[in-house]
Assembly symmetry: C2
Protein backbone atom coordinates (compact mmCIF):
# COMPACT_ATOMS: atom_id res chain seq x y z
CA UNK A 1 0.00 0.00 0.00
CA UNK A 2 1.64 3.22 -1.18
CA UNK A 3 0.70 5.62 1.57
CA UNK A 4 2.77 8.47 0.11
CA UNK A 5 0.59 8.73 -3.00
CA UNK A 6 -2.51 8.66 -0.80
CA UNK A 7 -1.12 11.50 1.25
CA UNK A 8 -0.52 13.57 -1.87
CA UNK A 9 -4.15 13.13 -2.91
CA UNK A 10 -5.28 14.44 0.43
CA UNK A 11 -2.98 17.43 0.09
CA UNK A 12 -4.71 18.40 -3.14
CA UNK A 13 -8.26 17.69 -1.99
CA UNK A 14 -9.31 18.57 1.55
CA UNK A 15 -11.44 16.12 3.50
CA UNK A 16 -15.20 16.45 3.18
CA UNK A 17 -17.49 16.79 6.19
CA UNK A 18 -20.48 14.57 6.96
CA UNK A 19 -22.89 17.50 6.76
CA UNK A 20 -21.59 18.27 3.26
CA UNK A 21 -22.16 14.71 1.97
CA UNK A 22 -25.56 14.11 3.52
CA UNK A 23 -27.10 16.80 1.33
CA UNK A 24 -25.46 15.60 -1.89
CA UNK A 25 -27.03 13.34 -4.53
CA UNK A 26 -25.64 9.83 -4.09
CA UNK A 27 -23.36 9.96 -7.17
CA UNK A 28 -21.61 13.09 -5.86
CA UNK A 29 -21.38 11.69 -2.34
CA UNK A 30 -19.89 8.51 -3.84
CA UNK A 31 -17.32 10.61 -5.73
CA UNK A 32 -16.11 12.10 -2.44
CA UNK A 33 -15.82 8.62 -0.96
CA UNK A 34 -14.16 7.22 -4.10
CA UNK A 35 -11.47 9.87 -4.26
CA UNK A 36 -10.67 9.52 -0.57
CA UNK A 37 -12.08 12.85 0.59
CA UNK A 38 -14.61 11.27 2.96
CA UNK A 39 -13.74 8.49 5.40
CA UNK A 40 -16.54 8.85 7.95
CA UNK A 41 -19.72 6.94 8.78
CA UNK A 42 -22.46 6.64 6.17
CA UNK A 43 -25.63 6.76 8.32
CA UNK A 44 -27.82 9.44 6.71
CA UNK A 45 -25.86 9.67 3.44
CA UNK A 46 -27.73 8.56 0.31
CA UNK A 47 -30.93 8.40 2.33
CA UNK A 48 -33.39 5.76 1.14
CA UNK A 49 -30.69 3.65 -0.52
CA UNK A 50 -29.60 0.22 0.65
CA UNK A 51 -26.29 0.19 2.51
CA UNK A 52 -24.24 -2.87 3.24
CA UNK A 53 -21.53 -4.50 5.31
CA UNK A 54 -18.59 -5.66 3.18
CA UNK A 55 -16.49 -8.84 3.42
CA UNK A 56 -13.83 -9.57 0.78
CA UNK A 57 -12.14 -12.98 0.76
CA UNK A 58 -9.94 -15.11 -1.51
CA UNK A 59 -11.97 -17.53 -3.67
CA UNK A 60 -10.62 -20.49 -1.63
CA UNK A 61 -12.75 -19.25 1.28
CA UNK A 62 -15.71 -17.98 -0.75
CA UNK A 63 -17.81 -21.15 -0.94
CA UNK A 64 -17.61 -21.73 2.83
CA UNK A 65 -18.33 -18.08 3.63
CA UNK A 66 -21.29 -18.21 1.22
CA UNK A 67 -22.56 -21.21 3.19
CA UNK A 68 -21.96 -19.37 6.47
CA UNK A 69 -24.20 -16.52 5.26
CA UNK A 70 -26.86 -18.87 3.90
CA UNK A 71 -26.97 -20.72 7.23
CA UNK A 72 -27.06 -17.53 9.32
CA UNK A 73 -29.41 -15.26 7.38
CA UNK A 74 -30.33 -13.01 10.30
CA UNK A 75 -26.80 -11.77 11.11
CA UNK A 76 -25.52 -12.28 7.51
CA UNK A 77 -28.23 -11.37 4.97
CA UNK A 78 -26.48 -11.45 1.58
CA UNK A 79 -27.54 -8.67 -0.77
CA UNK A 80 -24.77 -8.92 -3.37
CA UNK A 81 -21.79 -11.09 -4.32
CA UNK A 82 -19.20 -10.15 -6.95
CA UNK A 83 -17.83 -12.42 -9.64
CA UNK A 84 -14.39 -13.79 -8.74
CA UNK A 85 -11.78 -11.11 -9.44
CA UNK A 86 -14.40 -8.54 -10.58
CA UNK A 87 -14.34 -5.44 -8.35
CA UNK A 88 -17.67 -4.15 -9.71
CA UNK A 89 -20.83 -4.93 -7.72
CA UNK A 90 -22.97 -5.26 -10.84
CA UNK A 91 -26.20 -6.25 -9.12
CA UNK A 92 -26.04 -3.34 -6.66
CA UNK A 93 -25.43 -0.38 -8.94
CA UNK A 94 -24.45 0.95 -12.34
CA UNK A 95 -20.86 1.73 -11.39
CA UNK A 96 -19.97 0.54 -7.92
CA UNK A 97 -16.31 -0.34 -7.41
CA UNK A 98 -15.74 -2.26 -4.20
CA UNK A 99 -12.05 -1.20 -4.20
CA UNK A 100 -12.80 2.49 -3.69
CA UNK A 101 -16.44 3.07 -2.78
CA UNK A 102 -16.30 2.28 0.95
CA UNK A 103 -15.11 5.25 3.06
CA UNK A 104 -12.69 3.16 5.14
CA UNK A 105 -11.59 -0.47 5.03
CA UNK A 106 -10.24 -2.84 7.68
CA UNK A 107 -7.54 -5.18 6.36
CA UNK A 108 -7.22 -8.41 8.36
CA UNK A 109 -4.23 -10.78 8.07
CA UNK A 110 -4.60 -14.25 9.61
CA UNK A 111 -7.73 -13.04 11.39
CA UNK A 112 -6.12 -10.01 13.04
CA UNK A 113 -6.66 -6.36 12.11
CA UNK A 114 -3.52 -5.27 10.26
CA UNK A 115 -4.32 -1.89 8.67
CA UNK A 116 -7.01 0.64 7.82
CA UNK A 117 -7.12 2.31 4.42
CA UNK A 118 -9.48 4.34 2.22
CA UNK A 119 -8.60 2.51 -1.02
CA UNK A 120 -7.80 -1.17 -1.62
CA UNK A 121 -6.99 -0.92 -5.34
CA UNK A 122 -3.38 -1.93 -4.68
CA UNK A 123 -4.52 -4.87 -2.53
CA UNK A 124 -7.10 -6.24 -4.97
CA UNK A 125 -6.40 -9.72 -6.35
CA UNK A 126 -7.77 -11.74 -9.24
CA UNK A 127 -9.06 -14.37 -6.81
CA UNK A 128 -10.99 -11.99 -4.52
CA UNK A 129 -14.75 -12.35 -4.03
CA UNK A 130 -16.68 -9.45 -2.46
CA UNK A 131 -19.76 -10.12 -0.31
CA UNK A 132 -22.19 -7.34 0.65
CA UNK A 133 -24.54 -7.96 3.59
CA UNK A 134 -27.61 -5.89 4.47
CA UNK A 135 -27.33 -3.60 7.50
CA UNK A 136 -29.45 -2.08 10.21
CA UNK A 137 -29.48 1.42 8.69
CA UNK A 138 -32.33 0.21 6.46
CA UNK A 139 -34.60 -0.83 9.29
CA UNK A 140 -33.61 2.13 11.47
CA UNK A 141 -34.86 4.49 8.74
CA UNK A 142 -38.09 2.48 8.62
CA UNK A 143 -38.48 2.61 12.43
CA UNK A 144 -37.95 6.38 12.54
CA UNK A 145 -40.40 6.84 9.67
CA UNK A 146 -42.96 5.08 11.87
CA UNK A 147 -42.25 7.45 14.75
CA UNK A 148 -40.15 5.09 16.85
CA UNK A 149 -37.35 6.98 18.59
CA UNK A 150 -33.83 5.53 18.53
CA UNK A 151 -31.79 6.95 21.40
CA UNK A 152 -28.34 6.17 19.96
CA UNK A 153 -29.18 8.22 16.86
CA UNK A 154 -30.66 11.09 18.86
CA UNK A 155 -27.54 11.09 21.04
CA UNK A 156 -25.23 10.72 17.98
CA UNK A 157 -23.73 7.51 19.40
CA UNK A 158 -22.94 4.10 17.94
CA UNK A 159 -25.47 1.41 18.75
CA UNK A 160 -24.44 -1.04 21.53
CA UNK A 161 -23.27 -4.43 20.26
CA UNK A 162 -22.61 -7.64 22.22
CA UNK A 163 -21.27 -11.14 21.75
CA UNK A 164 -23.98 -13.60 22.80
CA UNK A 165 -24.08 -17.21 23.95
CA UNK A 166 -25.99 -18.01 20.74
CA UNK A 167 -23.74 -19.85 18.31
CA UNK A 168 -23.81 -19.23 14.58
CA UNK A 169 -24.28 -22.29 12.37
CA UNK A 170 -20.73 -23.21 11.33
CA UNK A 171 -19.58 -23.60 7.72
CA UNK A 172 -16.09 -24.90 7.02
CA UNK A 173 -13.65 -22.81 9.08
CA UNK A 174 -16.25 -20.13 9.88
CA UNK A 175 -17.83 -20.37 13.33
CA UNK A 176 -18.38 -18.16 16.36
CA UNK A 177 -20.97 -16.35 18.43
CA UNK A 178 -23.92 -14.44 16.99
CA UNK A 179 -23.34 -10.74 17.64
CA UNK A 180 -26.39 -8.57 18.41
CA UNK A 181 -27.17 -4.87 18.48
CA UNK A 182 -29.48 -3.58 21.22
CA UNK A 183 -31.98 -0.72 21.19
CA UNK A 184 -33.89 0.27 24.37
CA UNK A 185 -37.64 0.72 23.78
CA UNK A 186 -40.92 1.02 25.58
CA UNK A 187 -42.89 -2.23 25.23
CA UNK A 188 -45.44 -0.64 22.89
CA UNK A 189 -42.66 0.54 20.56
CA UNK A 190 -40.88 -2.81 20.85
CA UNK A 191 -43.99 -4.59 19.60
CA UNK A 192 -44.27 -2.27 16.61
CA UNK A 193 -40.52 -2.51 15.96
CA UNK A 194 -40.88 -6.30 15.66
CA UNK A 195 -43.60 -5.88 13.06
CA UNK A 196 -41.77 -3.16 11.09
CA UNK A 197 -38.35 -4.83 10.96
CA UNK A 198 -39.87 -8.21 10.05
CA UNK A 199 -40.58 -6.62 6.65
CA UNK A 200 -36.82 -6.42 5.99
CA UNK A 201 -35.34 -9.94 6.16
CA UNK A 202 -32.32 -8.71 4.18
CA UNK A 203 -31.62 -6.09 6.87
CA UNK A 204 -31.54 -8.55 9.83
CA UNK A 205 -35.35 -8.86 9.97
CA UNK A 206 -37.27 -8.98 13.25
CA UNK A 207 -35.41 -9.06 16.59
CA UNK A 208 -33.61 -12.22 17.61
CA UNK A 209 -34.45 -11.65 21.30
CA UNK A 210 -36.35 -9.27 23.56
CA UNK A 211 -36.16 -8.71 27.29
CA UNK A 212 -33.71 -10.53 29.57
CA UNK A 213 -30.14 -9.97 28.38
CA UNK A 214 -28.91 -12.85 30.57
CA UNK A 215 -31.00 -15.27 28.46
CA UNK A 216 -28.55 -14.80 25.59
CA UNK A 217 -25.41 -14.62 27.69
CA UNK A 218 -25.07 -10.85 28.10
CA UNK A 219 -24.09 -10.12 31.70
CA UNK A 220 -23.95 -6.34 31.66
CA UNK A 221 -25.81 -4.20 29.13
CA UNK A 222 -23.69 -1.18 30.07
CA UNK A 223 -20.44 -2.77 28.87
CA UNK A 224 -21.04 -3.55 25.19
CA UNK A 225 -18.35 -5.38 23.20
CA UNK A 226 -18.60 -2.78 20.42
CA UNK A 227 -20.25 0.65 20.21
CA UNK A 228 -21.38 2.97 23.00
CA UNK A 229 -23.23 2.00 26.20
CA UNK A 230 -26.96 2.78 26.21
CA UNK A 231 -28.82 2.96 29.54
CA UNK A 232 -32.39 1.68 29.77
CA UNK A 233 -34.76 4.40 30.91
CA UNK A 234 -37.64 3.70 33.28
CA UNK A 235 -40.14 1.37 31.62
CA UNK A 236 -37.88 0.45 28.70
CA UNK A 237 -36.86 -3.07 27.70
CA UNK A 238 -33.86 -4.08 25.58
CA UNK A 239 -34.60 -5.28 22.03
CA UNK A 240 -31.89 -7.33 20.31
CA UNK A 241 -31.27 -7.68 16.57
CA UNK A 242 -28.76 -9.99 14.89
CA UNK A 243 -25.79 -7.88 13.80
CA UNK A 244 -23.51 -7.70 10.76
CA UNK A 245 -20.45 -7.79 13.00
CA UNK A 246 -21.04 -11.56 13.32
CA UNK A 247 -18.85 -12.35 10.25
CA UNK A 248 -15.96 -10.39 11.75
CA UNK A 249 -16.21 -12.59 14.87
CA UNK A 250 -16.23 -15.66 12.59
CA UNK A 251 -13.13 -14.36 10.81
CA UNK A 252 -11.25 -14.72 14.08
CA UNK A 253 -11.89 -18.47 13.98
CA UNK A 254 -11.30 -18.94 10.24
CA UNK A 255 -8.13 -16.81 10.17
CA UNK A 256 -7.92 -16.45 6.37
CA UNK A 257 -4.51 -15.12 5.20
CA UNK A 258 -6.27 -11.95 4.04
CA UNK A 259 -9.77 -10.55 4.52
CA UNK A 260 -10.92 -7.00 3.88
CA UNK A 261 -14.06 -5.53 5.46
CA UNK A 262 -15.61 -2.09 5.79
CA UNK A 263 -14.65 -0.24 8.98
CA UNK A 264 -17.63 -0.27 11.39
CA UNK A 265 -20.24 2.33 10.43
CA UNK A 266 -18.51 3.04 7.08
CA UNK A 267 -20.82 1.08 4.81
CA UNK A 268 -21.06 0.58 1.06
CA UNK A 269 -23.85 2.80 -0.29
CA UNK A 270 -25.61 1.01 -3.18
CA UNK A 271 -27.88 2.31 -5.95
CA UNK A 272 -30.59 -0.11 -4.84
CA UNK A 273 -33.54 1.24 -2.83
CA UNK A 274 -33.65 0.33 0.85
CA UNK A 275 -36.89 -1.58 0.40
CA UNK A 276 -34.92 -4.14 -1.60
CA UNK A 277 -34.07 -5.48 1.87
CA UNK A 278 -37.70 -6.62 2.01
CA UNK A 279 -36.60 -9.63 0.05
CA UNK A 280 -37.03 -11.09 -3.35
CA UNK A 281 -36.26 -8.09 -5.54
CA UNK A 282 -32.50 -8.16 -5.16
CA UNK A 283 -30.72 -8.72 -8.45
CA UNK A 284 -33.48 -7.20 -10.59
CA UNK A 285 -33.22 -3.53 -9.59
CA UNK A 286 -30.15 -2.22 -11.40
Amino acid sequence: MDLSSETSVFKRKPFAAFDELRHLPVDLARDSIRNGRYRGHTAGIGLGLLQGNVVILPADYALDFFRFCQRNPKPCPLVGVSDTGDPKMRTLGKDIDIRTDVPLYNVYRDGELDAQTADITDLWRDDFVAFVLGCSFTFEEALMAEGIRLSHIEDNKTVSMYRTSLTAQPAGPFTGPIVVSMRPMRPSDAVRACAVTARYPHAHGEPIHIGSAADIGINDLLTPDWGDPAALEEGEIPVFWACGVTPQAAMKSARPPVCITHAPGRMLITDVPGWAASGGHLGQLV
Copy 2:
Protein backbone atom coordinates in the same frame (compact mmCIF):
# COMPACT_ATOMS: atom_id res chain seq x y z
CA MET B 1 -26.26 -47.42 -11.73
CA ASP B 2 -27.11 -51.07 -11.11
CA LEU B 3 -30.75 -51.27 -12.16
CA SER B 4 -30.99 -55.03 -11.49
CA SER B 5 -30.37 -54.62 -7.76
CA GLU B 6 -32.97 -51.85 -7.66
CA THR B 7 -35.47 -54.17 -9.31
CA SER B 8 -34.83 -56.84 -6.69
CA VAL B 9 -35.56 -54.34 -3.93
CA PHE B 10 -38.90 -53.56 -5.50
CA LYS B 11 -39.70 -57.26 -5.73
CA ARG B 12 -39.29 -57.61 -1.99
CA LYS B 13 -41.09 -54.40 -1.04
CA PRO B 14 -44.17 -53.36 -2.98
CA PHE B 15 -44.55 -49.72 -3.97
CA ALA B 16 -46.37 -47.46 -1.54
CA ALA B 17 -49.36 -45.35 -2.60
CA PHE B 18 -49.70 -41.61 -2.12
CA ASP B 19 -52.76 -42.05 0.10
CA GLU B 20 -50.74 -44.34 2.35
CA LEU B 21 -47.89 -41.84 2.81
CA ARG B 22 -49.97 -38.73 3.29
CA HIS B 23 -51.35 -40.09 6.57
CA LEU B 24 -47.96 -41.19 7.93
CA PRO B 25 -45.72 -39.24 10.32
CA VAL B 26 -42.90 -37.67 8.32
CA ASP B 27 -40.21 -40.09 9.54
CA LEU B 28 -42.21 -43.09 8.34
CA ALA B 29 -43.07 -41.38 5.05
CA ARG B 30 -39.38 -40.61 4.62
CA ASP B 31 -38.53 -44.29 5.26
CA SER B 32 -40.76 -45.29 2.33
CA ILE B 33 -39.05 -42.72 0.11
CA ARG B 34 -35.60 -43.69 1.34
CA ASN B 35 -36.01 -47.41 0.66
CA GLY B 36 -37.41 -46.76 -2.80
CA ARG B 37 -41.00 -47.79 -2.11
CA TYR B 38 -42.45 -44.37 -3.00
CA ARG B 39 -41.44 -42.43 -6.11
CA GLY B 40 -44.44 -40.12 -6.53
CA HIS B 41 -45.13 -36.45 -5.91
CA THR B 42 -44.83 -35.05 -2.40
CA ALA B 43 -47.60 -32.41 -2.33
CA GLY B 44 -49.62 -33.19 0.82
CA ILE B 45 -47.04 -35.50 2.41
CA GLY B 46 -45.45 -34.24 5.64
CA LEU B 47 -48.00 -31.45 5.76
CA GLY B 48 -46.73 -28.26 7.39
CA LEU B 49 -43.08 -29.07 6.70
CA LEU B 50 -40.86 -27.16 4.30
CA GLN B 51 -40.26 -28.92 0.99
CA GLY B 52 -37.58 -28.02 -1.49
CA ASN B 53 -36.30 -28.24 -5.04
CA VAL B 54 -32.92 -30.00 -5.25
CA VAL B 55 -29.88 -29.18 -7.40
CA ILE B 56 -26.64 -31.18 -6.94
CA LEU B 57 -23.49 -29.99 -8.72
CA PRO B 58 -19.72 -30.61 -8.65
CA ALA B 59 -17.86 -28.10 -6.44
CA ASP B 60 -16.32 -26.48 -9.55
CA TYR B 61 -19.78 -25.15 -10.37
CA ALA B 62 -20.97 -24.51 -6.81
CA LEU B 63 -19.72 -20.95 -6.31
CA ASP B 64 -21.29 -19.72 -9.57
CA PHE B 65 -24.56 -21.54 -8.88
CA PHE B 66 -24.58 -20.03 -5.36
CA ARG B 67 -24.23 -16.61 -7.01
CA PHE B 68 -27.00 -17.46 -9.48
CA CYS B 69 -29.35 -18.20 -6.58
CA GLN B 70 -28.28 -15.10 -4.61
CA ARG B 71 -28.91 -12.92 -7.67
CA ASN B 72 -32.27 -14.52 -8.48
CA PRO B 73 -33.91 -14.97 -5.08
CA LYS B 74 -37.49 -15.13 -6.33
CA PRO B 75 -37.06 -18.18 -8.58
CA CYS B 76 -34.13 -19.63 -6.57
CA PRO B 77 -34.66 -19.06 -2.82
CA LEU B 78 -31.91 -21.05 -1.11
CA VAL B 79 -33.02 -22.83 2.06
CA GLY B 80 -30.09 -25.22 2.53
CA VAL B 81 -26.65 -25.99 1.12
CA SER B 82 -24.58 -29.07 2.02
CA ASP B 83 -20.90 -29.12 2.82
CA THR B 84 -18.80 -30.30 -0.12
CA GLY B 85 -19.00 -34.09 -0.32
CA ASP B 86 -21.38 -34.36 2.67
CA PRO B 87 -24.69 -35.96 1.65
CA LYS B 88 -26.41 -34.92 4.91
CA MET B 89 -28.50 -31.73 4.83
CA ARG B 90 -27.61 -30.84 8.43
CA THR B 91 -29.43 -27.51 8.58
CA LEU B 92 -32.69 -28.99 7.26
CA GLY B 93 -33.18 -32.01 9.50
CA LYS B 94 -31.74 -34.46 11.99
CA ASP B 95 -31.05 -37.21 9.47
CA ILE B 96 -31.73 -36.12 5.90
CA ASP B 97 -29.64 -37.89 3.28
CA ILE B 98 -29.81 -36.14 -0.07
CA ARG B 99 -28.77 -39.37 -1.85
CA THR B 100 -31.93 -41.28 -0.91
CA ASP B 101 -34.57 -38.96 0.52
CA VAL B 102 -35.99 -37.57 -2.74
CA PRO B 103 -38.61 -39.87 -4.32
CA LEU B 104 -37.17 -39.58 -7.82
CA TYR B 105 -34.08 -37.86 -9.26
CA ASN B 106 -33.28 -36.48 -12.72
CA VAL B 107 -29.66 -37.05 -13.75
CA TYR B 108 -28.40 -34.54 -16.32
CA ARG B 109 -25.18 -35.02 -18.31
CA ASP B 110 -23.83 -32.00 -20.21
CA GLY B 111 -27.15 -30.25 -19.60
CA GLU B 112 -29.34 -33.00 -21.06
CA LEU B 113 -31.58 -35.38 -19.09
CA ASP B 114 -29.80 -38.73 -19.09
CA ALA B 115 -31.61 -40.90 -16.52
CA GLN B 116 -34.18 -41.03 -13.72
CA THR B 117 -33.50 -42.97 -10.54
CA ALA B 118 -34.82 -43.29 -6.98
CA ASP B 119 -31.38 -43.48 -5.35
CA ILE B 120 -28.15 -41.66 -6.23
CA THR B 121 -25.89 -43.32 -3.67
CA ASP B 122 -23.83 -44.93 -6.44
CA LEU B 123 -23.53 -41.59 -8.27
CA TRP B 124 -22.50 -39.50 -5.23
CA ARG B 125 -19.03 -37.95 -5.41
CA ASP B 126 -16.73 -36.35 -2.84
CA ASP B 127 -16.90 -33.05 -4.74
CA PHE B 128 -20.71 -32.79 -4.88
CA VAL B 129 -22.54 -29.86 -3.30
CA ALA B 130 -26.32 -30.13 -2.76
CA PHE B 131 -28.52 -27.03 -2.95
CA VAL B 132 -32.12 -27.04 -1.68
CA LEU B 133 -34.45 -24.25 -2.88
CA GLY B 134 -37.84 -23.37 -1.39
CA CYS B 135 -40.90 -24.37 -3.39
CA SER B 136 -44.47 -23.28 -3.97
CA PHE B 137 -46.01 -26.05 -1.87
CA THR B 138 -45.34 -23.84 1.16
CA PHE B 139 -47.29 -20.87 -0.10
CA GLU B 140 -50.03 -23.02 -1.63
CA GLU B 141 -50.73 -24.48 1.82
CA ALA B 142 -50.87 -20.93 3.18
CA LEU B 143 -53.23 -19.80 0.40
CA MET B 144 -55.60 -22.71 0.96
CA ALA B 145 -55.52 -22.09 4.72
CA GLU B 146 -56.79 -18.58 3.91
CA GLY B 147 -59.65 -19.98 1.83
CA ILE B 148 -58.17 -19.25 -1.60
CA ARG B 149 -59.06 -22.03 -4.06
CA LEU B 150 -56.32 -23.44 -6.30
CA SER B 151 -57.88 -25.06 -9.35
CA HIS B 152 -54.89 -27.24 -10.28
CA ILE B 153 -54.99 -28.86 -6.84
CA GLU B 154 -58.77 -29.31 -6.89
CA ASP B 155 -58.45 -30.89 -10.36
CA ASN B 156 -55.41 -33.00 -9.29
CA LYS B 157 -53.29 -31.45 -12.05
CA THR B 158 -49.77 -30.02 -12.18
CA VAL B 159 -49.59 -26.22 -12.11
CA SER B 160 -48.97 -24.54 -15.51
CA MET B 161 -45.37 -23.34 -15.98
CA TYR B 162 -43.94 -21.10 -18.72
CA ARG B 163 -40.65 -19.72 -19.95
CA THR B 164 -40.86 -15.91 -19.94
CA SER B 165 -39.09 -13.07 -21.70
CA LEU B 166 -37.69 -12.04 -18.30
CA THR B 167 -34.02 -12.92 -18.07
CA ALA B 168 -32.45 -14.24 -14.90
CA GLN B 169 -29.37 -12.37 -13.65
CA PRO B 170 -26.46 -14.44 -15.00
CA ALA B 171 -23.65 -15.87 -12.85
CA GLY B 172 -20.69 -17.52 -14.53
CA PRO B 173 -22.06 -20.10 -16.99
CA PHE B 174 -25.60 -19.95 -15.53
CA THR B 175 -28.09 -17.86 -17.47
CA GLY B 176 -31.51 -18.22 -19.02
CA PRO B 177 -35.15 -17.18 -18.79
CA ILE B 178 -37.07 -16.86 -15.55
CA VAL B 179 -39.68 -19.61 -15.45
CA VAL B 180 -43.05 -18.82 -13.84
CA SER B 181 -45.98 -20.82 -12.54
CA MET B 182 -49.50 -19.46 -13.12
CA ARG B 183 -52.63 -19.72 -11.00
CA PRO B 184 -55.97 -18.30 -12.24
CA MET B 185 -57.77 -16.22 -9.60
CA ARG B 186 -60.55 -13.73 -9.15
CA PRO B 187 -59.09 -10.24 -8.60
CA SER B 188 -60.13 -10.17 -4.93
CA ASP B 189 -58.32 -13.48 -4.31
CA ALA B 190 -55.33 -12.30 -6.37
CA VAL B 191 -54.92 -9.29 -4.11
CA ARG B 192 -55.00 -11.44 -0.98
CA ALA B 193 -52.67 -13.99 -2.60
CA CYS B 194 -50.08 -11.22 -3.11
CA ALA B 195 -50.27 -10.31 0.57
CA VAL B 196 -50.16 -13.92 1.82
CA THR B 197 -47.29 -15.13 -0.39
CA ALA B 198 -45.22 -12.00 0.33
CA ARG B 199 -44.79 -13.48 3.82
CA TYR B 200 -42.74 -16.35 2.34
CA PRO B 201 -39.72 -14.89 0.51
CA HIS B 202 -38.02 -18.30 0.73
CA ALA B 203 -40.93 -19.88 -1.13
CA HIS B 204 -40.85 -17.52 -4.15
CA GLY B 205 -42.54 -14.65 -2.25
CA GLU B 206 -45.20 -12.46 -3.84
CA PRO B 207 -46.09 -12.81 -7.55
CA ILE B 208 -43.62 -11.62 -10.16
CA HIS B 209 -46.43 -10.50 -12.48
CA ILE B 210 -50.21 -10.28 -12.63
CA GLY B 211 -52.56 -9.82 -15.60
CA SER B 212 -51.38 -9.69 -19.22
CA ALA B 213 -49.38 -12.80 -20.07
CA ALA B 214 -48.02 -11.10 -23.20
CA ASP B 215 -46.23 -8.56 -21.01
CA ILE B 216 -43.79 -11.26 -19.93
CA GLY B 217 -43.54 -13.00 -23.30
CA ILE B 218 -46.16 -15.72 -22.85
CA ASN B 219 -48.18 -15.98 -26.07
CA ASP B 220 -50.66 -18.70 -25.18
CA LEU B 221 -51.64 -19.53 -21.61
CA LEU B 222 -53.18 -22.80 -22.77
CA THR B 223 -49.88 -24.23 -23.99
CA PRO B 224 -47.60 -24.21 -20.92
CA ASP B 225 -43.96 -25.29 -21.27
CA TRP B 226 -44.34 -27.60 -18.25
CA GLY B 227 -47.37 -28.90 -16.34
CA ASP B 228 -51.02 -29.03 -17.35
CA PRO B 229 -53.01 -26.29 -19.13
CA ALA B 230 -55.35 -24.26 -16.89
CA ALA B 231 -58.19 -22.29 -18.48
CA LEU B 232 -59.18 -18.93 -17.02
CA GLU B 233 -62.80 -18.89 -15.94
CA GLU B 234 -65.03 -15.86 -16.42
CA GLY B 235 -63.73 -12.96 -14.32
CA GLU B 236 -60.40 -14.60 -13.47
CA ILE B 237 -56.95 -13.12 -14.10
CA PRO B 238 -53.65 -15.01 -14.32
CA VAL B 239 -51.25 -14.59 -11.38
CA PHE B 240 -47.60 -15.47 -12.01
CA TRP B 241 -45.01 -16.59 -9.46
CA ALA B 242 -41.30 -17.13 -10.09
CA CYS B 243 -40.70 -20.87 -10.32
CA GLY B 244 -38.07 -23.32 -9.10
CA VAL B 245 -37.76 -24.79 -12.60
CA THR B 246 -35.64 -21.72 -13.48
CA PRO B 247 -32.36 -23.44 -12.43
CA GLN B 248 -33.12 -26.38 -14.72
CA ALA B 249 -33.46 -23.91 -17.62
CA ALA B 250 -30.12 -22.35 -16.57
CA MET B 251 -28.52 -25.81 -16.53
CA LYS B 252 -29.17 -26.02 -20.27
CA SER B 253 -26.86 -23.03 -20.76
CA ALA B 254 -24.21 -24.06 -18.22
CA ARG B 255 -24.10 -27.71 -19.37
CA PRO B 256 -22.18 -29.06 -16.38
CA PRO B 257 -20.78 -32.58 -16.98
CA VAL B 258 -23.17 -33.86 -14.30
CA CYS B 259 -26.07 -32.32 -12.41
CA ILE B 260 -28.69 -34.14 -10.37
CA THR B 261 -32.07 -32.60 -9.52
CA HIS B 262 -35.35 -33.81 -8.06
CA ALA B 263 -37.89 -34.92 -10.65
CA PRO B 264 -40.62 -32.25 -10.95
CA GLY B 265 -43.13 -32.52 -8.11
CA ARG B 266 -40.95 -35.03 -6.21
CA MET B 267 -39.48 -32.69 -3.62
CA LEU B 268 -37.20 -33.13 -0.63
CA ILE B 269 -39.32 -33.09 2.55
CA THR B 270 -37.37 -31.41 5.35
CA ASP B 271 -37.83 -31.44 9.14
CA VAL B 272 -38.09 -27.65 9.14
CA PRO B 273 -41.54 -26.05 9.49
CA GLY B 274 -43.00 -24.44 6.38
CA TRP B 275 -43.03 -21.02 8.04
CA ALA B 276 -39.21 -21.13 7.92
CA ALA B 277 -39.79 -19.90 4.35
CA SER B 278 -40.83 -16.61 5.93
CA GLY B 279 -37.16 -15.80 6.11
CA GLY B 280 -34.53 -15.37 8.72
CA HIS B 281 -35.00 -18.50 10.79
CA LEU B 282 -33.34 -20.93 8.41
CA GLY B 283 -30.29 -22.57 9.90
CA GLN B 284 -31.50 -22.25 13.50
CA LEU B 285 -34.42 -24.69 13.49
CA VAL B 286 -32.85 -28.15 13.56
